[in-house]
């Protein structure tokens, strides 16, 4: 495994109001994996994704992508918001949304070139949205909306895709299409991390799992780690119920 082609997380702790929700997580993920992030409610799945995306401050630990800090290469990492966080009435079409992905490369000044338009076309084609490019984003089905945001990340040429419960509320066909899109991204060498709570379809959708419950319970390929003993452990409620006792305050002293 090439160390520069991976996401390395070591000793990651994240707190809200000084109460830790993620405890000293260390793991390595390879680009090209399609990873399910599993755990009960309150296990810190969303927090984990947001920490990797740089949306919440981390208390201890480091995150390295290709050996670099994510802040140094923000456009390589793309976080897809949960559906209810999006203003679906925003005056924007699918194409307009995907074009926004190019802004990370263009800044305020560089003109939108032919090459940018080609990348947008490719993104739309990759996610099977070419026919829907002129639609306003509310006039899409749930699965199409997810794919539209994936296309934006693709146009941004992101390398890591972080998705928060994308399968929530999708019917069987839409789930299938979205899963196919995610597999395609991982075949292209992207790293896809998805928070997920339906244990029933993990094996068919993902290649790897991370089992999370405040702390890291297990991590590895679906064949090796998606086993009852680990799942029971991840979903056991007694692991971190009370207030967390050991101090993280040393991070605040510095």
């Amino acid at each position: 495994m090439n160390a520069s082609h991976s996401l390395e997380i070591s000793n990651l702790t994240v707190s809200y109001d000084r109460v830790p929700v993620l405890h000293h997580i260390s793991l390595n993920l390879r680009c090209g994996d399609c990873v399910a992030l599993l755990g009960p409610n309150g296990a810190g799945k969303t927090t984990f994704l947001k920490a990797v995306a740089g949306l919440v401050p981390i208390e201890t630990g480091t995150i390295r992508l290709h050996g670099q800090s994510p802040q140094a290469i923000p456009r390589e990492i793309s976080y897809l918001p949960q559906r209810e966080q999006v203003d679906w009435d925003f005056p924007i079409t699918v194409r307009g949304l995907v074009e926004m992905g190019r802004y990370a490369h263009l800044g305020n000044w560089k003109p939108f070139s032919k090459r940018d338009a080609e990348i947008v076309d490719q993104a739309l084609a990759t996610l099977h949205l070419t026919d829907l490019a002129g639609r306003q984003i509310k006039a899409l089905s749930g699965g199409q909306q997810q794919r539209a945001f994936l296309a934006r990340s693709w146009a941004q040429q992101a390398h890591v895709y972080l998705l928060d419960e994308p399968f929530e509320g999708l019917d069987k066909n839409a789930q299938h299409d979205l899963a196919e899109s995610l597999r395609q991204l991982s075949r292209e060498g992207k790293l896809v991390i998805v928070s997920h709570h339906n244990l029933g379809n993990v094996a068919e959708l993902f290649s790897h799992v991370i089992l999370l419950n405040g702390e890291l319970v297990a991590e590895g390929s679906v064949e090796a780690m998606f086993k009852p003993e680990w799942i029971d452990k991840a979903f056991a409620t007694e692991i971190f119920t009370g207030p967390h006792q050991h101090p993280h305050s040393h991070a605040l002293d510095s």
């Binding site: 949306l55 203003d87 005056p91 926004m100 305020n108």
Partner: protein
């Protein structure tokens, strides 16, 4: 038919029309950003908070436009920043904090106007008088329009990312907080430029109605901003002319014309109007049947 061309012969009307073009376009352009960022109520609060600033300006500098200008800017800044301070340092939410501060400021403004050296008509500040535009007023409008359009156009991509999804924009390195403050400053400046024309209370109309009108028509951000500018400009000029022909106040006339535009959009917009929704067949049976057969 001479009465139609009549207003164009007078210098004060030419001046007022020029003012309407500048003010209407700038406020209308900014309107898209305010509607999408849901800043309309904040704009309302800040427009009322201009009053004590105007009063203090009038006390110290009489009716000199520059004195009024700086008085108004500082008063709005104090309410906006004070609201932030109050909400961050206590459990009060920012809508409560700003509402509290702006009513206090407004009351203070009414009180202070009594102490002005020059006799100031409260009515004038509240509802404006576009026929009284001076050269300096026009220059201030020019300056504000140029600055506002320059900033909004040059920062358009960053602003669009911020309006659509501030958290993701932030993670992409967009200076979200700074841009939102910038937007607030531009909003106050735009309100000041329309103060002379429509007054403290009605300035909000110029900032909200054009954007809301176009929002019901289009699915493109560019169209919304430029369309808002055009609607604002047409509405202001039309309102001014109507006020001249019918001898009613220019402020209410402008806002009412813009209000009619919004009502028309709400009813008749081919995309998001309510009539089209009522007239559309409940389901696309014929269409889907045809597709199913093919």
């Amino acid at each position: 038919m001479r009465w139609i061309l009549d207003p164009f012969h007078f210098e004060f009307m030419q001046r007022a029309l020029l003012g309407c073009i500048l003010i209407g376009f700038t406020n209308g352009f900014l309107s898209a950003f305010i509607v999408l960022r849901r800043m309309a109520l904040l704009a309302d609060a800040l427009s009322h908070s201009l009053l004590p600033g105007l009063a203090i300006g009038a006390i110290f500098f009489g009716l000199a436009p520059m004195g009024l200008f700086f008085g108004a800017v500082s008063a709005a800044a104090m309410v906006a920043l004070g609201g932030q301070l109050l909400s961050r340092s206590s459990r009060l939410k920012d809508d409560t904090a700003i509402a509290a501060l702006y009513t206090i400021a407004f009351a203070l403004g009414i009180l202070l106007l009594n102490y002005s050296r020059v006799r100031v008509d409260l009515h004038h500040f509240l509802f404006g008088n576009i026929l009284g535009l001076t050269d300096l007023d026009l220059w201030i409008s020019y300056g504000i329009s140029a600055l506002t359009l320059l900033v909004l156009i040059s920062q358009q991509r960053a602003l669009l990312l911020t309006l659509f999804d501030a958290t993701v924009a932030k993670s992409q390195g967009v200076p979200v907080t700074r841009l939102l403050y910038l937007l607030m400053i531009l909003m106050v400046l735009a309100m000041i430029s329309s103060l002379q024309a429509v007054g403290v209370v009605l300035s909000l109309g110029l900032l909200v109605l054009p954007g809301a009108t176009v929002y019901l028509w289009c699915d493109s951000f560019d169209a919304m901003a430029w369309g808002g500018g055009v609607i604002g400009m047409i509405g202001s000029c039309a309102g001014l002319l109507i006020s001249y022909w019918t001898n009613i106040g220019s402020g209410p006339a402008i806002v009412l014309v813009l209000g009619l535009f919004l009502l028309a959009s709400y009813l008749f917009s081919p995309r998001y109007g309510i009539l089209i929704r009522l007239l559309k067949p409940k389901h696309l049976h014929e269409e889907s049947l045809a597709r199913w057969r093919s």
